[in-house]
Amino acid sequence: MSNNADAQVAKNNKTEKVFSWPNLVAKEFIAAILCTVILLAYSYYVDAPLRELANPGEPENPAKAPWYFLGLQEILVYFDPWIAGVVVPSIILMGLMAIPYIDTNPKGNGGYCFWDRRFAITVFLFGFIFWYALIVVGTYMRGPFWSFFWPWETWSFDFPTPPPSISLPNWLGIPALLAYFGFGMLVPAVLFWKFAKQLGFIRYNITMSLLLLMIGVLVKIALRLMFNIKYILQTPWFNI
């Protein structure tokens, strides 16, 4: 009996409503004022950057995109421009837009929780941190000619010549790619068949393709850093 009453009280608390005026509006007002004060104070003490007049004859070295695109510029080291600058951001955006339609787990709607959505939250946080980690590397650790410097090193033009990179021959690269995506799709389906069944065939394939592509970027970075591998697949039209 008392349990029932408690549940009823809890339910009422969840749906309990308050007037927007002043409960919400006052907080918004304070947030807006604080935001303005912080912005103006910061702007008063720190000037916005302004360099010399634009000069097409004198390239900046390093020339860097705005900071929020530096993650993409950073993976230019590991991928050709059409992948790093166009395909990767397009897939990220399509993947983001697909999230509500592939995540059919009804739990955790409207509150912070981890355990009921551990797969979704882990993947999203991984992507979020990956994006910002690349930005940090691109912003603070890339000097002239986009060569790597630790934050405590001074940028100089006197850096060792990078070792020559090698490309996998296609007889090795194509099976490697097929194996990565093939096993990547099949193994989780077997190991977590309940999860895969819950998602359904199409949703499972979209989810896993996006996940494998994201991990693939990390794998390619690792292959380059550890084995100096430039391309995995080479065709007359494009290389990956």
Binding site: A48, K64, V86, M97, N109, R117, F128, W237
Partner: protein, 256 residues
């Protein structure tokens, strides 16, 4: 003191006052509801919101702050337009004028720039908050999609503003960005499959962005028009949809 109160009462009882301000601060439920619904700015809000929704630690105010910073950028941006001319021969000199001659110009320009960066940050963290609270789940799926589009537009707003000072920083940043556009498969002259369709440096997507084969006067004008008119209008339209959908999809998300 009594005299002041008397005057205030007399003033608020006049016909002019009452025609402008329909109701005072009388603390009744009816009046609190009216405060919201009879005010064009406040009626974006529902009259009542769930108690959990006004907790700072639920939303962290991030969506509202993003919108507020957008408004801040609109106001400072309009003021900057009085002093800045998007002409390659003048733009940089106008920046110097803003920094050293125009009264409060330095604060205006600097805070506009930092606010632009701040908006990129708040919009990213707003997305993180919405994800972590599962707020994109049914019935709010489409509003998440609109949010992703607004994220892209925020990046583009900031990016187009980057060229406007016409300094080395902006010039070479836009060079990096638009060169990536040149690598677009099929549509960029350096991208895969471009040759097959006869896509060249003077008819590809980079050419459309820059208004030429290199960054020059037409590029500055294009960046300016997209930054001040084109993208704000598109963003504004999507924001209207985004806010409308928050209400129509059942209000702010919360425990079911």
């Amino acid at each position: 003191m009594n005299l002041i109160l008397y005057l205030i009462r007399k003033l608020t009882e006049t016909e002019v006052w009452k025609s402008v301000f329909r109701h005072g601060y009388t603390d009744t439920p009816r009046n609190r509801a009216l405060q919201t619904i009879s005010n064009v700015w406040l009626h974006l809000h529902p009259v009542k919101v769930p108690k959990h929704a006004v907790k700072i630690r639920y939303t962290w105010c991030l969506g509202g702050l993003t919108f507020f910073i957008f408004l801040y950028l609109t106001v400072t941006g309009v003021l900057l337009m009085f002093y800045y001319v998007p002409d390659v021969n003048r733009a940089y000199a106008d920046m110097i004028d803003l920094m050293y001659v125009v009264p409060l110009g330095r604060l205006l320009r600097t805070s506009h720039r930092w606010a632009g960066h701040a908006m990129v940050i708040t919009v990213c963290f707003h997305m993180l908050r919405v994800f972590l609270t599962g707020s994109y789940k049914a019935p709010r799926q489409f509003n998440w999609v609109l949010g992703v589009l607004l994220l892209v537009l925020t990046f583009l707003l900031s990016f187009t503003g980057y060229l406007l000072p016409w300094d080395q920083l902006g010039y070479w940043a836009i060079m990096v960005g638009t060169n990536m556009g040149a690598a677009t498969p099929v549509m960029g002259y350096q991208g895969p499959f471009a040759e097959m369709l006869g896509v060249k440096i003077n008819n590809d997507i980079r050419f459309a962005l820059l208004g030429g084969t290199q960054i020059d006067a037409p590029s500055l004008l294009r960046a300016y028009v997209w930054h001040c008119i084109g993208i704000p209008i598109i963003s504004g339209a999507l924001m209207i949809l985004h806010f409308w959908r928050v209400r129509k999809d059942g209000g702010i998300s919360g425990p079911l």
